[in-house]
């Protein structure tokens, strides 16, 4: 769960003391906060940003937003969780501001169909024992690398829905989309990610479907 990753203490000071010092405008407290939390915030920003420059810009803006909102921080969540949310929201603002760019196509990563509605490909089991592999750092790194290959409009929705666990409505509001559009993008993002993972884990996992099975033929009429 996400909370596992950002429930760490923000520094050596206990959190109540740190927050009190921050609210009092203590320069050392601000430096402690930035030096102990920025690496994780930068990691989160990099998931959303297209470039390193954008990621650092997001982090800087997020801290400014956080500093301005400190008075409203009531300690109902961990400071690290609060900062995490701010950096995600800041990344979303940046994504919205960049939406004039043409969207990359995702079509080449989506399944294709014959005119009669059958899959044009025959899929093979990847043979990925997902529960076991989730435990492996290498697998997680591979999945992250595949997510990074998704077109931005789809990557951001997948990150927000499946990783940040935001609601469809929340994501729709944040990205200026309809809930239906969020659902469509999430589905397409998962399909595209599935294609990338299949290619990774079963290099020959998809074969041209000349003469696909009779089972598929029967299904079309069901």
């Amino acid at each position: 769960m996400q909370s596992d990753t950002h429930d760490r203490p923000t520094g050596t000071l206990d959190e109540t003391t740190l927050v009190a010092a921050l609210k009092a405008g203590d320069d050392a407290a601000f430096e402690t906060l930035v030096r102990t939390s920025s690496h994780r915030l930068l990691a989160v920003a990099r998931r959303f940003a297209r470039t390193e420059e954008d990621a650092q810009d997001i982090v800087q803006t997020a801290y400014m937003n956080a500093f301005r909102a400190l008075e409203k921080f009531e300690g109902q969540s961990q400071l690290s969780t609060w900062l995490h949310r701010i950096v995600v929201n800041t990344a979303l603002m940046k994504l919205r501001s960049q939406r004039t760019k043409p969207e990359e196509s995702i079509e080449t990563l989506l399944p294709t169909f014959k005119t009669d509605g059958h899959h044009a490909e025959r899929f093979r089991d990847w043979s990925v024992p997902a529960d076991a592999l989730v435990q492996q750092a290498e697998t997680r790194a591979t999945v992250r690398a595949c997510i990074a290959q998704l077109p931005e409009a789809y990557r951001s929705v997948l990150l927000l829905r499946d990783i940040e666990e935001r609601s469809t409505r929340d994501v729709a509001d944040a990205l200026g989309l309809t809930p239906a559009a969020v659902k469509t993008r999430l589905h397409r993002a998962r399909q595209a990610l599935s294609t990338l993972l299949r290619r990774r884990y079963a290099a020959d996992g998809v074969t041209a479907q000349d003469g696909v099975t009779s089972a598929g033929g029967a299904a079309s009429n069901s």
Binding site: Q2, T5, D27, F30, E31, V34, R35, S38, H39, R40, L42, A43, R46, R47, Q56, V59, Q60, Y63, M64, P111, F113, D116, G117, H118, H119, F123, R124, D125, W126, V128, A130, D131, V134, A137, T139, R140, A141, V143, R144, I147, L158, D162, I163, K183, L186, H187, R190, Q191, L193, S194, L197, Q209, V212, T213, A215, G216, A218, A219, S220, S222
Partner: protein, 83 residues
């Protein structure tokens, strides 16, 4: 229901949002189409792997944040933005 239609319904099926009639058609198709069963399995594995891709301590957390970034944050704070 065709493979194309089933594929379009996968997300709703997994979230329990598919109407009962469509759910029956969906599962009837799965009964006779191993290719869609395999595709659905892969989709579910994808969702599971995706959800856990960043919930670990080996996520690419940079060992060091560029000092220039830290300095920029701290100096921006110290500027008289209260005005």
């Amino acid at each position: 229901m065709t493979c194309r239609e089933l594929t379009a319904f996968i997300a709703d099926y997994l979230s329990g949002d598919l109407p009962p009639d469509s759910k029956i058609e969906f599962e009837r198709h799965l009964d006779v189409c191993p290719n869609c069963v395999t595709y659905l399995d892969g989709y579910q594995d994808t969702v599971r792997l995706g959800r856990h891709a960043c919930d670990d301590d080996d996520a690419p957390v940079p060992d060091t944040v560029p000092e220039a970034l830290i300095e920029a944050v701290l100096s921006a704070r110290s500027k008289p933005s209260q005005a």
